[in-house]
Symmetry: C2
Subunit: 186 residues, 2 copies
DNA sequence: TTAATTACGGACTATTCGGTAACAAATATG
DNA sequence: CATATTTGTTACCGAATAGTCCGTAATTAA
């Protein structure tokens, strides 16, 4: 019955995600989303209800794509140490000036909006569990659950801190020294 | 010659800082700053020129008060390990839901505004040097400059990550386990 | 073919945005 | 006292804000 939509909803969501990623929640106007997606605001409101819905959809897409890619790196082939090092190093090498949308949402919206806060915590939890799983392949951590949980949480903190430092424009050599320290502390 | 001002400019700046701290740059309207300070916008514009000037003044005040307090903790009495542990633990115990204004500015504005980016980098640099100085009291790090620099950068990343996790509402026991891992890795 | 349903685009709303102009009150210096 | 200067206050500006309404086009099921 319905008239088919004349645009690619997935591509639109990608554009929405990229816009919130760059400008943050408050820094993103509906006009900006219209420009980024090429859609009229009416189509955006029909798809997502309101601006908050657009943001939550962007967070979900980020979790399913960018966050999932990071987790994939942690569960890929090679030794656990190599996978961890590859994850952290790749963040520096292809430095994204927008930072990490999950981290941005954590500082930006998590404390002001329950929905965003819950979404951020869910993403953080997924990432932490991936770190825990990778640590499970290392002798020192396989046996001791508490040790592994603490290290996994610390790796999440380092991950967030690294991405914020990248966004803040810290020089790459300092960041590589930082990663070297993380690897040494495993 | 001039008529004396009828308000406390320092108190006004504190209120401005608190408002940006809670709501971020874009989330803070001039109206909100008027309400927080009790001043009319004309007085605000006379003091700071424009909204960006108000934000940069808030960052400076944060550096001079909150950031300086953290650095003081790192240079207080007691062993270096105790000082480091006290700093991280205190962040968890008196969890500030607004997070860290330096960290917030880093994800919020550093990539979009040169002035904010430079201010954030300067604050990060001060904090990193304080970590380096504290590490200088530990035998393992006193000798090796590269080792110390890497660890100091890693501690900054952990500091940022911890504050973001606190703001995101992570449970305190997990955060204490995180700090235990940091201390173990020294 | 008709009816139901959805997509679309433009116009419109009321409010808020950051920022400015104008002016009277207050004060210290000449 | 007079004058220069800064204060606080009100009013105002055009632009942008999030969100809605409504008429029209397109499509499929009956």
């Amino acid at each position: 019955m319905p008239r088919p939509r004349g645009f690619d909803a997935d591509a639109a969501l990608d554009a929405i995600k990229a816009t919130f990623w760059t400008y943050g929640y408050e820094g993103t106007s509906i006009q900006r989303l219209e420009d980024a997606t090429g859609l009229k605001k009416q189509s955006l409101y029909r798809l997502y209800g309101d601006k908050r819905g657009m943001y939550l959809a962007a967070l979900k897409a980020y979790d399913e794509h960018e966050n999932a890619a990071a987790i994939d790196t942690l569960t890929a082939e090679g030794s656990a140490r190599d996978r961890l090092k590859r994850l952290f190093t790749s963040l520096i090498d292809d430095a994204d000036p927008r930072g990490c949308l999950m981290c941005n949402a954590g500082t930006d919206q998590a404390a002001l909006d329950d929905g965003s806060g819950a979404a951020v915590r869910a993403m953080l939890s997924r990432l932490r569990q991936a770190f825990e799983a990778a640590l499970g392949a290392l002798d020192d951590y396989r046996q001791d659950d508490r040790l592994r949980a603490g290290k996994a949480a610390a790796l999440v903190a380092s991950y967030i801190g690294l991405r914020v430092l990248i966004k803040a424009g810290e020089p790459a050599d300092r960041l590589h020294a930082l990663v070297a320290d993380i690897m040494k502390s495993l």
